[in-house]
């Protein structure tokens, strides 16, 4: 045990233990008295009255008193094995056996207990269920144990190792040694499940529930675990020496038999009932508890104490919805039809009409597509229709499809009101009713109850899906027989574009307006419709109606007029009148919400829409709908027949039979819905990136049971979406997200009435292995560290151990060279793009690329400043201390690819070859082995990963691979001392002279790359870079022409900056330096006036500053500074006349004049320079 942990515990422990010895000290006596009579004669100091100002004593005494109480407990539980001897515990926060119980357990078993934690080292163990993050950090180094440790130790009769009950784990980073079956294995520390969860699972309530289970006679998991433990206990019969204890210095009590027998006594005597349950709970190790199935209360109908009441009227008013649901589900029949049935979802989808229809439609669509494909293969391609051509669209629809088909089997019902529904129960919904029923006012979707009121003689027929399917197939056969483009709308309606046929019949191109051709076309359309109706009638025995119009909208609108069993052609000249008279509800795609919105802006009929401006519509309905309504009102519909709408979402939703009694059921149901969604995603060959959970919650004012049996009734609908980072259709991912969204709603599970999951932002599933679309980096094992034999690490290539390389044969050296095909050497793509710039990119291809991609590629290519520079993707060698001979660190010269060398720029080549020059014993930096790529190989050269760490310390040479280029410019220039006098400094420097250009070179290291690095490494790299730049600074010339661009340069190459004008031979550019120079100049010539040529030099410089450097401020500042210097010189001369000779003062006034003249000339220069730039003059101070 670390001494750190025990610094204070020792004293605390001693203090506490001293109290446990019965025959010591007066306080013991006092305690006995305390027990007998707490109000009398407390002899201990702690029971004295506090003195004035003795507040500090208060806490101390309080603690002593508490310890006295503990001593009492200890004395009264002498029979307990003192398993906690040496333990000083402190309880932090809420624990499941409560603080009091833990206190009693610990103290009763010989432990010490601290109510107040003076310092962390005062206690040996901190007992907590969970810690706040702050405390977690605070107690990281201390023994923080779960309460289960206490309970279990008591149960086991010995001090269990606290380690397996730790609350604060060592973190993911630390590996944990596991001892299983004598084998020691190191594994990543797995995060134990959240302590809250552990607690709730094994809480009093859960155990209560379990005990209910036990009573109900179901096989109990706790019983199992009890047995489990019993077997464990048997295995635990081991010699006392081997008992794992953290406290070697405290003899462990190994009276196993005694504890076994003692145990029940302890329980009964000292452990309150709650804790018994707790112990029961903790009897098995917690990990087993966690893996137990969640205890779910499913009141069995046989054992349920609740009355089997079905009648909502008999319900208590204060009942919660969960309770109500539980009661409802207690009816086995209801239970089978609701989510209480595990098979519910399958059953639901088996029986749901809507589901049936939708899956049917999907099948139909697939059939239609294949049929259309066949057709297009046999048919010659239809003539392309240009814009502005008259079109003829048929909208074909069955009249009351379900009813009509069902009636065929019951000829006796012909002409009578017939409806199709699940049953005649008042709660069933009418799916379809025939026209004679509609005469009674019946509508599809009506409740059976009200329908029967309206039409008592209504005949109700059940669904007959096989017949519908058959009819639908025949219908589509007839539709497909028509020569035209077919689009299926649903199983019983279709759109057909017969433009081609009609135009042929009319004999026109559809553009010109000739009376005869239009007539012919319209007649042809009518004829087609007639034929179609006849053929469907013949095949299926049912009537279809056909609406004909110039577009889909008009066809649909015309169909309303055509029904029942008729056809109607909406002719172009009648369109506006016809549509205008319709109510907006009659337009396709206008539901009640849209029509309500339209009503708000005063629209009831379609013609009303025409009075509104498009802007008004878009502002109140949204841009798309508004524009659509505007078009619709004018009979315009741009959509085309046969234009399949791409599926935008896949969803699974259930809003019938949703009755949960607890949250777990709801979550399980969501998970199974997600499984269904997963199936559908797979069916549709898509995956999605956005998951939406739709939840219908019983409206607060809605009754517990809606009108429709197990229906959803009046609901509030909630939606929540989450963007998944990657498109997926994995059911576990979807399920997890959906469940967490459901949790985040925090709705009462009993109030849930409908649940749906929807996947949007779909992406097609690529054929092939069904995996995530995201590329995954493959982290291969670190190269070559373990297998030096097979694959020589480049580190070793240049290692001195390898000895003389020249002696190696070429074959061997090539074998030793790191293989590029070795996957372990594959560099990471660091540039953040999936496109890797090939070394030799085809410029044409490059030019074809979009600009942004190109520039990324270019910058990527640039991150390897020299594309053909030999670069090894291997980690860099460590800088070696002792200078070894250069050849030892290079591959033999013979290994260099001559082609590569030839391709190198001259200077680089020279440099590389220089390293092989025996004349050069040492070199500035260790170089990585230049690697010779095999000539002509199509290998994509990727940016290397230069930051493979070697031996812990981040390499400062991480970017060393650019040193080859850098060292080009680190030519050591001879330095000349600038021992120039002020006079010399003023000499005009007419020669073209350079100056320093301190540019921070951001291009050398990609910023993305830098950003990806850890902070410390980045700093080091930047420092390295700065140092390199420092060496790299070179003088610039004014007249330097742009150097011809090397062909491999890809980024925007900026021409060299025009040289900054400099002042004097010292190349002064900075304002402080200039001021200093002027200062010196002025003080040197203050008494005799400046030389004209110096003034001219400064003027020239200032002029250039303004015109070339474009820094007016600098020039003006210099002039102002000069002016101030002159002014300062004048002032003392005037105000405090120095005792000078008249001759001196005369000369002084002379030089004042000279300086003033100089200043005026400088100012004039500045103004004229400004004028040259087209600027007004400046004011000088």
């Amino acid at each position: 045990m670390g001494s750190l942990l025990n610094t204070k515990t020792g004293s605390v422990r001693k203090r506490i233990e001293s109290r446990t010895v019965p025959s010591r000290g007066p306080w013991r006596r006092a305690l006995a008295k305390l027990v007998l009579d707490t109000f009398e004669d407390e002899a201990g100091e702690e029971y004295d009255a506090s003195r004035f100002g003795g507040f500090g004593d208060y806490m101390r005494r309080k603690k002593i008193k508490l310890q006295n109480l503990d001593a009492e407990i200890r004395s009264s539980s002498a029979g307990n094995p003192p398993i906690f001897r040496g333990v000083v515990a402190h309880v932090n926060g809420y624990t499941q056996p409560s603080l009091q119980d833990l206190h009693r357990l610990i103290v009763g078993h010989g432990g010490g207990f601290l109510q107040y934690l003076d310092g962390k080292t005062a206690a040996t163990h901190v007992i907590a269920s969970s810690l706040t993050p702050k405390k977690r950090e605070e107690f990281r180094r201390y023994r923080v144990v779960q309460p289960a440790w206490v309970v279990e130790s008591v149960r086991a009769g010995r001090l269990l190792p606290w380690d397996s009950f730790r609350v604060v784990d060592e973190g993911h980073a630390q590996k944990v040694l596991r001892f299983d079956n004598g084998r020691v294995s190191s594994q990543i520390n797995t995060n134990p499940p959240s302590a809250y969860k552990t607690q709730s699972r094994s809480s009093w309530y859960a155990s209560q529930l379990k005990s209910v289970d036990i009573e109900a006679g179901t096989p109990s998991t706790s019983q199992k675990t009890l047995e489990n433990h019993d077997s464990n206990a048997g295995a635990n019969l081991i010699p006392s020496d081997d008992i794992q204890s953290d406290y070697g210095d405290f003899p462990s009590f190994n009276t196993l038999d005694a504890t076994q027998t003692d145990f029940p006594v302890i329980e009964e005597a000292y452990v309150p009932k709650q804790a018994v349950a707790e112990i029961e709970e903790y009897y098995s190790p917690p990990r087993i508890i966690q893996s137990e199935p969640i205890p779910v209360t499913k009141p069995d109908s046989s054992t349920s104490p609740l009355p089997l009441a079905r009648e909502p009227a008999s319900l208590k008013t204060g009942m919660s919805s969960e309770e109500y649901n539980a009661q409802l589900l207690s009816d086995p029949k209801t239970r089978n039809t609701s989510v209480g049935n595990p098979e519910f979802l399958q059953q639901y989808y088996r029986e749901s009409r809507l589901h049936h229809l939708s899956t049917w439609k999907a099948e139909l669509k697939a059939q239609l597509m294949s049929a259309a494909k066949e057709k297009s293969q046999t048919q010659t391609s239809r003539p392309k229709l240009g814009p502005g051509v008259r079109r003829y669209i048929l909208h074909v629809d069955f009249d009351s499809f379900f009813a009509a088909v069902s009636i065929r089997k019951h000829p006796e019902l012909e002409g009578k009101p017939v409806a199709i529904a699940h049953g005649t129960g008042s709660g069933s919904e009418i799916a379809s009713c025939n026209y004679s029923a509609r005469d009674f006012g019946l509508k599809n979707g009506m409740w059976m109850k009200s329908a029967l009121q309206m039409c008592p003689g209504l005949k109700v027929l059940p669904y007959d899906f096989p017949a519908y399917e058959d009819a639908s197939q025949k219908f589509y056969a007839a539709v497909l027989a028509v020569d035209g483009v077919v689009q299926s709308v649903s199983i019983d309606e279709a759109l057909i574009d017969v433009t081609g046929q009609c135009l042929r019949a009319g004999g026109s191109d559809g553009r010109g307006v000739s009376e005869g051709s239009i007539y012919g076309e319209e007649a042809k359309a009518d004829e087609i419709a007639e034929c179609l109706r006849a053929s469907v009638k013949e095949k299926t025995g049912c009537d279809v109606s056909v609406g004909i119009g110039g577009n889909i909208l008009l066809a649909k609108v015309a169909l309303r007029r055509a029904k029942p069993a008729g056809q109607f052609q909406l002719k172009p000249d009648a369109v506006l009148d016809f549509i205008g008279e319709l109510t907006v509800r009659d337009l396709p795609g206008v539901g009640h919400s849209l029509s309500a919105k339209l009503e708000e802006i005063g629209v009831k009929f379609v013609k009303d829409i025409r009075t509104l401006s498009k802007e008004r519509l878009t502002s109140s309905l949204g841009p798309k709908t508004g524009a659509k309504m505007w078009d619709y009102a004018r009979g315009i519909d741009q959509s085309e027949v046969g234009h399949e709408v791409v599926r935008k979402s896949v969803s699974a939703e259930v809003n019938w039979g949703i009755r949960f009694t607890n949250q777990i059921q709801a979550e399980d149901f969501v998970r199974s819905l997600c499984d269904e969604l997963h199936r559908r995603l797979i069916d549709n060959l898509v995956k999605g990136r956005q998951l939406t959970l739709k939840v219908m919650r019983r409206a607060p004012d809605a009754p517990l049971e809606p009108a429709k049996h197990l229906g959803h009734g009046k609901c509030d609908v909630f939606n929540k979406s989450v963007m998944l980072g990657v498109a997926t259709n994995a059911q576990d991912v979807i399920g997890k997200e959906a469940v967490s969204m459901l949790k985040s709603f925090n709705l009462s599970s009993g109030d849930l009435r409908g649940l749906g999951v929807q996947m949007t932002k779909l992406e097609p599933l690529k054929p092939g292995p069904m995996e995530s679309s995201q590329m995954q980096l493959q982290f291969n094992k670190s190269p070559a560290r373990k297998k030096v034999e097979q694959n020589i690490d480049p580190d070793d290539v240049d290692s001195p151990r390898k000895g003389d390389r020249h002696g190696l044969s070429a074959a061997e050296s090539s074998r030793l060279a790191p293989s590029l095909n070795d996957s372990s050497h594959k560099p990471l793509n660091l540039s953040g793009t999936q496109f890797i710039m090939p070394t030799q990119a085809d410029p044409e291809v490059l030019a074809e690329l979009p600009g942004d991609i190109r520039s990324r590629l270019i910058s990527q290519g640039k991150s390897r400043p020299d594309a053909v520079r030999p670069v090894s993707p291997t980690p860099l060698p460590r800088p070696r201390r002792q200078g070894t001979a250069a050849p030892a660190e290079f591959p033999p010269q013979s290994q260099l690819d001559p082609d590569t060398l030839a391709a190198l720029p001259d200077d680089v080549r020279a440099e590389i070859l220089a390293y092989y020059d025996p004349q050069q014993p040492s070199r500035p930096m260790p170089l990585e082995p230049p690697h010779a790529p095999s000539a002509g190989s199509l290998r994509l050269k990727k940016p290397t990963t230069p930051t493979k760490r070697r031996r812990g310390r981040p390499s400062t040479k991480a970017l060393g691979n650019m040193k080859l280029t850098q060292s080009n410019f680190t030519a050591v220039r001879p330095r000349t001392s600038d021992s120039t006098t002020a006079e010399d400094a003023m000499r005009p420097q007419s020669s073209s002279s350079g100056h320093e250009v301190p540019t921070l070179d951001a291009s050398e290291v990609s910023t993305e790359f830098l950003a990806a690095l850890p902070e410390d490494i980045r700093q080091e790299i930047l420092a390295e870079q700065r140092r390199a730049q420092q060496q790299q600074r070179i003088a610039n010339t004014r007249k330097a022409p742009a150097p011809p661009l090397p062909p491999q340069r890809r980024g925007p190459v900026l021409p060299p900056l025009p040289a900054r004008p400099t002042f004097t031979a010292q190349k002064l550019t900075q304002l402080p330096d200039l001021r200093h120079a002027v200062d010196e100049w002025h003080s040197a010539f203050s008494t005799e006036g400046p030389f004209a040529e110096d003034v001219a030099a400064l003027s020239k410089y200032l002029h250039r500053v303004i015109v070339e450097e474009k820094d007016i401020d600098k020039a003006v500042s210099v002039v102002n500074w000069t002016s101030w210097l002159i002014g300062r010189q004048q002032q003392p001369a005037e105000i405090t006349p120095t005792p000078r000779s008249s001759n001196g003062s005369f000369s002084s006034s002379l030089d004042v004049v000279a300086w003033d003249r100089a200043l005026a000339s400088l100012q004039e220069t500045v103004v004229s320079a400004l004028e040259e730039r087209g600027l007004p003059p400046v004011d000088f101070d």
Binding site: G851, D852, S855, I858, S859, K862, F969, A971, R973, P974, R975, T976, D978, S993, G994, E996, P998, T999, L1000, D1001, A1002, S1003, S1006, T1007, R1026, Q1029, Q1030, R1033, I1034, A1035, N1036, T1037, A1040, P1041, P1043, G1051, P1052, V1053, L1054, P1056, L1057, A1065, Q1066, K1067, D1073, E1109, K1110, D1111, I1112, D1113, V1116, L1170, E1171, R1173, G1174, L1175, P1176, P1177, V1178, D1179
Partner: protein, 284 residues
């Protein structure tokens, strides 16, 4: 911009490509325009919010249309920078009464690099000095040169600019009291570049400016294009300008230098010009 603490952060890297450069500058331009409008009281001072930019206290107009205009102008300037045609941006404060420019805040951008449009996202190559000249000139690497190069903190540069701008504005002659003012953003393009004035209304981000309403003096570039706006009329005015205006006498017109920024490739100079008109001198 209103944060509560100013954590000392690493200086951000200097813009390393043309689009980053344009973004840095347009940000600065936006801040500057707001600040100029405040400093010159073009709009009532109460309509400005005290905010912080580049860790320097500045003011931002609260008027949504003013903000929109400034943002639009900055975006449009950014577009021109990316085209590489721009040489200067100026903000011209003009009198509403006489419709004459009074002050001009000029940002000289001729030091910006010119980069082909396709490579605006590519990192700049380091400006390579002519090696021949460097070898020729291996003399006089002064002591100063070997000192560690100061890392240029762009933010600090901008901050200094804003500070100097404030002091420069304080030195300006106050604008006439009995007048209201408007401002215009005006750009100058290179002589060889096409003026960005579009033909259709949608692409007409820039309009050719009237010389009298823009120029305090002639500018370096022949074409001056201005993004025009008057304070009361959010609609853009459309003006046309024939190439260079005649050289006019200076009168009392005056230049107040502000600052030059040199941070990597971002090289600009900022100065203020005051027009003769401000001093009620006749315009010839």
């Amino acid at each position: 911009m209103t944060t509560f603490s100013a954590p000392v952060t690493e200086p951000k890297p200097l813009p390393s490509n043309q689009s980053a450069l344009a973004a840095s500058f347009t940000d600065f331009l936006t801040v500057s325009i707001h600040q100029i409008l405040f400093l010159r009281s073009v709009y009532p001072r109460a309509t400005f919010l005290p905010v912080r930019a580049y860790n320097y206290p500045v003011r931002q107009s609260r008027h949504p249309k003013v903000c929109d205009y400034i943002n639009d102008a900055a975006i449009a300037v950014g577009t021109e920078i990316l085209k590489g045609t721009i040489t200067a941006v100026s903000i011209i404060i003009s009198s509403l009464r006489t419709n004459q420019p009074l002050e001009r805040y000029a940002f000289d951008l001729s030091g910006f690099p010119r980069v082909p449009v396709g490579e605006i996202n590519a990192t700049f190559e380091e400006r390579k000095d002519d090696p021949s000249s460097s070898s020729k000139l291996g003399v006089n690497v002064s002591e100063r040169g070997s000192a560690p190069p100061q890392t240029i903190d762009l933010e600090a540069q901008f901050r200094a600019c804003l500070a100097r701008l404030a002091s420069a504005c304080a030195r300006l002659t106050p604008l006439p009291r009995d007048d209201e003012f408007s401002f215009t953003v005006c750009i100058e393009v290179r002589e060889d570049a096409l003026p960005p004035a579009g033909t259709t209304k949608e692409e007409q981000t820039w309009i050719v400016a009237e010389p009298g309403k823009v120029h305090l003096r002639s500018c370096t570039a022949p074409y001056s294009v201005s993004k025009a706006k008057s304070a009361d009329d959010p609609q853009q005015q459309h003006q046309h300008l024939p190439p260079p205006p005649p050289k006019v006498s200076n009168g009392r017109a005056k230049t107040v230098p502000v600052r030059r920024v040199e941070a990597g490739e971002l090289r600009l100079e900022l100065w203020v010009e005051e027009a003769r008109q401000k001093f009620n001198e006749p315009v010839d």
